[in-house]
């Protein structure tokens, strides 16, 4: 998985932003706020699982709260591999966006 899907990239960035609070509930609500739409649990959890398997995030158990019925949180962190991929993605994006001139561009049909 050298190329991330858009959702995967978003999740990785959310994990990075949330730092110590990066567990499923927070990631989902953080993304939902930014994306301005509702997300199902699976929409976040399944990509997160794939990212975990592919070694982009590492998980550790956090504290357990009463509201969770005494179950521990699974806190995710980015691995160096993820940081590299994110930077690469950012580079590609920047290059591509740098050449985009909005409606003035010739490649847009009218």
């Amino acid at each position: 998985m050298d190329v991330l899907s858009k959702r995967e990239e978003q999740i990785l960035l959310a994990v990075a932003a949330l730092e110590d609070e990066a567990y499923l509930v927070q990631i989902r609500s953080y993304l939902a706020t930014i994306l301005r739409k509702k997300l199902s649990l699976g929409a976040v959890h399944i990509p997160l699982r794939r990212l975990d398997r592919a070694g982009y995030v590492a998980a550790a158990f956090g504290e357990a709260t009463a509201v969770r019925g005494g179950r521990r949180k699974k806190i995710y962190r980015l691995t160096p591999k993820a940081v590299n991929v994110l930077h690469e993605s950012r580079r590609v994006q920047d290059v591509l966006w740098g050449r985009f001139r909005g409606l003035a561009a010739k490649g847009i049909s009218r």
Partner: protein, 848 residues
């Protein structure tokens, strides 16, 4: 606020917990609980619960897909291994797939049959509120024929009943649209509300007004096409049986679907019915009601219970309501087709089980050979779980292969199967069916694969290389047990087959009280009925035609009945007398016999006005020791009082499931039907002669006839179907068991090739070697018979109890079945062992 977090509840949680990898289980469930609490605080607990359920469902689905994709990589390896193994032993593969496919195909057919049975009468929009009114007689027994005016009375008197209608179908009548035309069709008399109660959609015409005129009728599009071709049928005129009244087509129905109990070609308004159908004392028609929504049928049943006996205190009866949906499956007396459905479902299950056991057996036997492979795999680092997965996926792959074969062969065989069963079956594409078949295959695959998987994955690599004595003994004990179970099930099936077969033979052979063979029945309509005397004379000139007799009703159709009065009748006595009007040749034509007295005779011209002949049951029911000369009264529109001149020996008009009913014969010169007894030789020529005689009177009508035994055989059609299904199932079960035995024995002999060779070198004969294997099989069959005997005895007793006239169950049937199975098993063994014993011992010993 709540103190503790919510726990995602119930089954969904367990399922999810099962599917999730261990590392995710705790945190994810915690996440769900946390969000649910938050939603509960914001939007209430109900909303939160709904959210949780939806999320769990979606997570389960996506988790499953994810897991499947993840496992595919491994599957590819299993798939390859399975393929190699199947290719390596083509004989084994063929036996396994064939056996399992046969079992699955059998299940599929039975499933299809059950589905078609259960689908009956469920297409009506308000099928939950539709009921048939039935009558229960004080002295026992049920009836569905009721007085015609009851329908209107029920609707007027009971507000819970939204609509009520009679449904009076008759045998086929001639329908003609002009002097030259004429086709035969089944009419039914109904009330105007009929089309609103039932969902028989009108293609043309308005359901509410279509019956406003008593001469307006509704026909099906199929009949319209037969009568008028492509012309518009609306407003066209029709005549029934060349009658005087012209009926006008005011509506066209879609053809009635095969899964409707109510079958008809045209609907005629009840308003125009003959007076006898409007008589409160004659049970002449079925009655259906539609209840208002939310009304309890039991409560309505209790309210209408006494309607008939209140009008006529002599009739001690109770009315009740039977759901329309139950008519096909449940008889009022209890039992009915639903029993067949249970029996056949059980049979399908047992056959599937036999096939699964077979599969398991062969797989276990074969897998022992693979102990070395397993050992190597273990040495190379396979975990036990991986081995289990490998075996399970192998057997699941094999089952799905069999399922594909089963579906294809069922699809191909279904038309001939329908013909064999005498019932139309079809297997439309439907997800539930496919889903349940796939689930079944998965289940069988896992079941069959489980034993070898768990047994063999536990093999110690070292033991596997050294020779595998321990695994072998454990496996073979189980195999022996499974073989015994299989044999027992086969015996059970053969006993079932012989019981059904003998009972049906018994019914066929049992004196019906008349000779049903070689009797042609002609429907007399219009001119034919008026000229019956001429027709009879014309027919009897032919030497091949022995007798002819006109009668109002055909023996095998439902009879009109009425309650009777006789001298010496006590207030509590009640006899419902079935009636028929026949001419003086009836007795000879049908070869019935008199018990005492005489039959109608031309020597006594007063017979038609004064005499009646009753059957033995009627004499007994009325308690008449000397019936001759007694006067018996019934009401059939008018009061009919006649003197008994004779008693005829009992004859069966109903199925042998029910006892003979009291019956009376009255004389009439003509009737709607003509029985013609013919010589059995040269049938086509005789039929041609009959046709010519008929055409001389009505040259324009189509010639129609049927044989009396056809109708009577139809009475037992469900039993015949049952018999055939049992036969097919028994054959299949035996086949699968044989396949299993064959495979198993060939494997055993192959494994003991060396032993056989050594024995031969030391001087054993081929027979002696066969005996070695035979001992085990004979013991197995004896054990199986001991198991299957009592069980089959119990089941057969239960089935036979449904017949009023039945064969006794004898233990010889069990013995016979056991011997059949034994013979087949022994033949298999001998064939296989002799082949093994015939080999050159040198080759066997050199092997390895």
């Amino acid at each position: 606020m709540r103190r503790r977090g919510r726990t995602p509840g119930g089954f969904g949680r367990k399922l999810l917990a099962f599917l999730l990898p261990a590392g995710e289980r705790e945190s994810l469930l915690g996440d769900i609980a946390e969000i649910e609490t938050e939603i509960a605080a914001r939007e209430g607990p109900a909303r939160a619960r709904r959210w949780r359920r939806r999320q769990i469902l979606r997570l389960t689905a996506s988790s499953l897909v994810d897991i499947m994709i993840w496992r595919m990589a491994m599957m590819k390896n299993y798939w390859k291994m399975t393929w190699r193994n199947l290719k390596k032993y083509p004989g084994y593969t063929a036996i396994n797939v064939a056996g399992l496919a046969a079992g699955l195909a059998c299940c599929l057919v039975i499933l299809t049959w059950c589905r078609s049975e259960i689908s009956f009468d469920r297409f009506h929009a308000s099928s939950d509120r539709l009921y048939r009114v039935y009558i229960k007689w004080e002295e026992g027994g049920y009836g569905t024929y009721l007085p015609g005016p009851l329908a209107a009375y029920l609707k007027e008197s009971f507000p819970e009943i939204a609509e009520a209608s009679v449904f009076n179908d008759s045998s086929q009548v001639k329908v003609s649209s002009g002097p030259e035309s004429g086709v035969f069709a089944v009419p039914a008399r109904v009330e105007p509300a009929f089309l609103e109660m039932f969902t028989f959609p009108l293609l043309q015409g308005d359901a509410r007004t279509v019956f406003d005129n008593p001469t307006h009728v509704v026909i099906t599009d199929a009949l319209a096409e037969r009568l008028f071709g492509r012309e518009d049928p609306m407003g066209k005129g029709l005549r029934l049986n060349d009658g005087r009244t012209e009926l006008i087509v005011a509506g066209v129905l879609r053809r009635i679907s095969a899964n409707s109990t109510l079958q008809f070609d045209l609907l005629i308004p009840f308003a125009g019915a003959p007076p006898i159908m409007k008589d409160w004392s004659v049970n002449s028609t079925e009655i259906y009601v539609r209840l208002r929504e939310g009304v309890s049928p039991d409560a309505v049943g209790r309210k209408i219970e006494g309607v008939i006996s209140a009008r006529n205190p002599a009739q001690k009866t109770r009315l009740g309501l039977q759901p329309l949906k139950d008519i096909r499956l449940h008889d009022l007396e209890g039992g009915g087709r639903i029993v067949d459905i249970y029996i056949f479902s059980a049979m399908a299950l047992v056959i599937l089980l036999i096939a699964a056991v077979n599969f398991m057996n062969l797989a276990t036997a074969r897998a022992e050979k693979r102990a070395a492979e397993i050992g190597i795999r273990k040495v190379l680092g396979s975990s036990r779980g991986q081995l289990v997965q490998q075996f399970l996926s192998e057997s699941v792959i094999l089952t799905f292969l069999s399922l594909a074969v089963a579906v294809a062969s069922t699809k191909a065989l279904l038309p001939s199967l329908s013909a064999f069963l005498g019932q139309h079956l079809d297997m439309p594409f439907s997800w539930p069916l496919i889903g349940s078949m796939a689930a079944m295959a998965l289940f069988v695959g896992l079941l069959a694969g489980s034993y070898p998987a768990f047994l063999l994955s536990g093999v110690q690599p070292l033991a596997a290389f050294k020779g595998h004595r321990r695994a072998r003994t454990r496996g073979s004990a189980l195999r022996k047990m499974l073989v015994v179970v299989q044999l027992a099930m086969s015996i059970l099936f053969i006993v079932g087959l012989s019981v059904v077969d003998r009972q049906m033979d018994f019914i066929r052979a049992k004196g019906l009280g008349f000779d049903k063979d070689n009797v042609v029945v002609l429907s007399l309509i219009g001119d034919l009925e008026r000229n019956v005397r001429a027709l009879k004379e014309d027919l009897l000139r032919n030497p091949e035609i022995l007798y002819a007799s006109a009668a109002a009703r055909v023996l095998d159709e439902s009879n009109s009945s009425s309650s009777a009065t006789w001298p010496g009748k006590q207030p509590g006595d009640h006899v419902v007398l079935g009636c028929n009007w026949v001419d003086g040749d009836y007795l000879e034509t049908l070869k019935m016999e008199m018990s005492v007295g005489r039959f109608f005779s031309p020597l006594f011209p007063g017979d038609a006005a004064n005499s009646v002949v009753i059957n033995e049951t009627a004499a007994k029911a009325m308690g008449l020791a000397a019936p001759i000369g007694q006067r018996i009264t019934i009401r059939m529109g008018e009061i009919i009082e006649r003197t008994v001149i004779g008693v005829v020996k009992d004859f069966h008009t109903e199925s042998l499931h029910v006892p003979v009913e009291p019956f009376a014969l009255y004389q009439a010169e003509t009737g709607a039907n003509l029985y013609v007894r013919i010589n059995s030789g040269n049938l086509p020529k005789t039929m041609k002669a009959i046709e010519q005689a008929v055409k001389r009177i009505v040259p324009n009508d189509p010639f129609r006839y049927r044989f009396l035994d056809e109708g009577l055989n139809r009475r037992y059609r469900s039993e015949e179907t049952a018999g055939r299904l049992v036969a097919a199932a028994a054959g299949l079960a035996l086949l699968i068991t044989c396949l299993g035995l064959f495979g198993l024995i060939s494997y055993l002999t192959e494994r003991r090739t060396k032993e056989i060779a050594v024995r031969k070198v030391l001087g054993a004969s081929g027979a002696g070697i066969a005996g070695l294997f035979l001992k085990e099989i004979v013991f197995g069959v004896v054990l199986a018979a001991a198991l299957a005997g009592p069980l089959s005895f119990w089941i057969a007793k239960k089935w036979l109890r449904g017949f009023s006239f039945r064969i006794p169950f004898s233990p010889w049937m069990i013995m016979g079945s056991a011997f059949t199975v034994l013979a087949i098993a022994v033949l298999t063994v001998i064939f296989q062992t002799l082949k093994a014993a015939g080999l050159n011992p040198i080759k066997a010993i050199r092997y390895e």
